[in-house]
């Protein structure tokens, strides 16, 4: 079954764009939260990850900070 994938991003952050490109190339469905406009999600992201940098990726509760391709592949089983 497809995993529940969320990304907390800003529209201007290059690594956010790269992560989303990566998901699309691998046909991974994801929910995208724009933390530059959604301040509740912004706080949620900081609480979940314990830090303030984007992107933050949440795969079934597993939190990955930044475009850590190897980690993402591993968690998604790619």
């Amino acid at each position: 079954m497809a995993k529940n994938v969320k990304i907390y991003s800003t529209p201007t952050c290059p690594w956010c764009i790269r992560v989303k490109q990566f998901f699309k190339e691998n046909n991974i469905a994801f929910e995208d939260y724009d933390v530059s406009t959604d301040h509740a999600k912004s706080e949620e992201m900081v609480n979940k990850s314990g830090q303030m940098g984007v992107p933050v990726i949440d795969i079934e509760g597993e939190i990955i900070v930044g475009f850590d391709k190897e980690k993402i592949k591993q968690v998604l089983g790619l």
């Binding site: 800003t10 201007t12 952050c13 290059p14 690594w15 956010c16 764009i17 790269r18 490109q21 933390v35 530059s36 406009t37 301040h39 912004s42 992201m45 900081v46 314990g50 830090q51 303030m52 940098g53 984007v54 900070v65 391709k69 190897e70």
Partner: protein
């Protein structure tokens, strides 16, 4: 141990272009890099790369990567090079995975990185209030108080972005006045929520879980400001520390001639890590191709 014809260190515009040329010359080579795209991936809008009237940094890097991957090139991504030296006939390349590679030639295309301010607490609070990318992380600081360290164009650019997001923006500049372009200076000075602190140096970044203050020295006087974000925008330094024995200039850039040769035969360098005048994506790409052709000729001669 296997001996490669060429190892390319870095996969920004210079490294990727060197890779394309090496693949087309059918060299037996390897690319070792922490990331793909380097600083180009961080660029916002690009309007001066020939063939593209407009492209974003992320999209251009995607095209670079596609081009690189269209050949059967061996790319070690996520592996950082920690040492390059030439003790004998071959160049040794050591990585942070504890692996040592050998090659007849090496191209250093490791680019530049953001300079750190050197304040205490800076490393500890990285991504916990301290950021080196206002474009990326700025929006998280909605309605918060932030400080920008620096007084040049990149600092002013960050300040302008943050005036629209943050409640209050301090610009902490260690010279008597801001040094960026006049137009940018005026915009920053005119913003109502900006305070410019000249002759000031940040001594410490303080906080608990996240940043909550900075301690600074303003013309000999100590001050503490309550801030939640600190953006360090004081320019770039070359990633050249790991290269042993090559000549570098005062900024740490690797000195090359117009064939991209360093003072050590077999070690070449290209792009922003070198003393090439002007740091541009298109220049770095051109330099990468030149370095690869020089390495190819070197191999043919020896």
């Amino acid at each position: 141990m296997k001996v490669y014809d060429l190892i390319i260190v870095g996969a920004g515009p210079a490294g990727i272009t060197a890779c394309v040329y090496a693949a087309r010359k059918r060299m037996d080579f390897l690319v070792i890099t922490g990331d793909i795209g380097g600083q180009a991936a961080w660029s916002g809008d690009i309007e001066n790369y020939t063939g593209y009237q407009f492209i974003t940094g992320a999209d251009l890097v995607k095209k670079f990567e596609e081009h690189m991957r269209s050949y059967d090139a061996s790319v070690k991504e996520g592996e950082g090079v920690v040492g390059v030296e030439k003790p004998g006939e071959l160049v040794l390349v050591k990585t942070n995975k504890g692996i040592e590679y050998q090659a007849k030639t090496v191209i250093i295309a490791s680019g530049k990185r953001s300079k750190e301010a050197g304040a205490s607490g800076e490393k500890e609070y990285k991504n916990k209030g301290v950021s080196y990318c206002a474009t990326c992380d700025g929006p998280i600081f909605n309605a918060k108080i932030v400080a920008i360290i620096g007084g040049g164009n990149s600092a002013l650019d960050a300040a302008l972005q943050l005036t629209r997001i943050a409640k209050q923006v301090y610009v902490i500049n260690n010279t008597p006045q801001l040094s960026g372009d006049a137009i940018m200076r005026k915009k920053v000075e005119d913003a109502t929520n900006v305070s410019i602190l000249n002759n000031s140096k940040v001594a410490a970044i303080l906080g608990d879980k996240f940043v909550n203050a900075i301690r600074l020295n303003q013309a000999g006087e100590e001050k503490t400001l309550s801030v939640q974000g600190v953006f360090v925008e004081i320019g770039l330094i070359p990633n050249s520390d790991f290269v042993k024995g090559v000549k570098k200039n005062a900024q740490g850039e690797i000195i090359i001639n117009n064939r991209n040769e360093t003072n050590i035969p077999g070690i070449f360098a290209a792009g922003d890590v070198t003393d090439v005048p002007e740091k541009q994506i298109i220049i770095a790409a051109g330099e990468g191709s030149k370095a690869c052709l020089s390495a190819f000729r070197y191999l043919a001669r020896s």
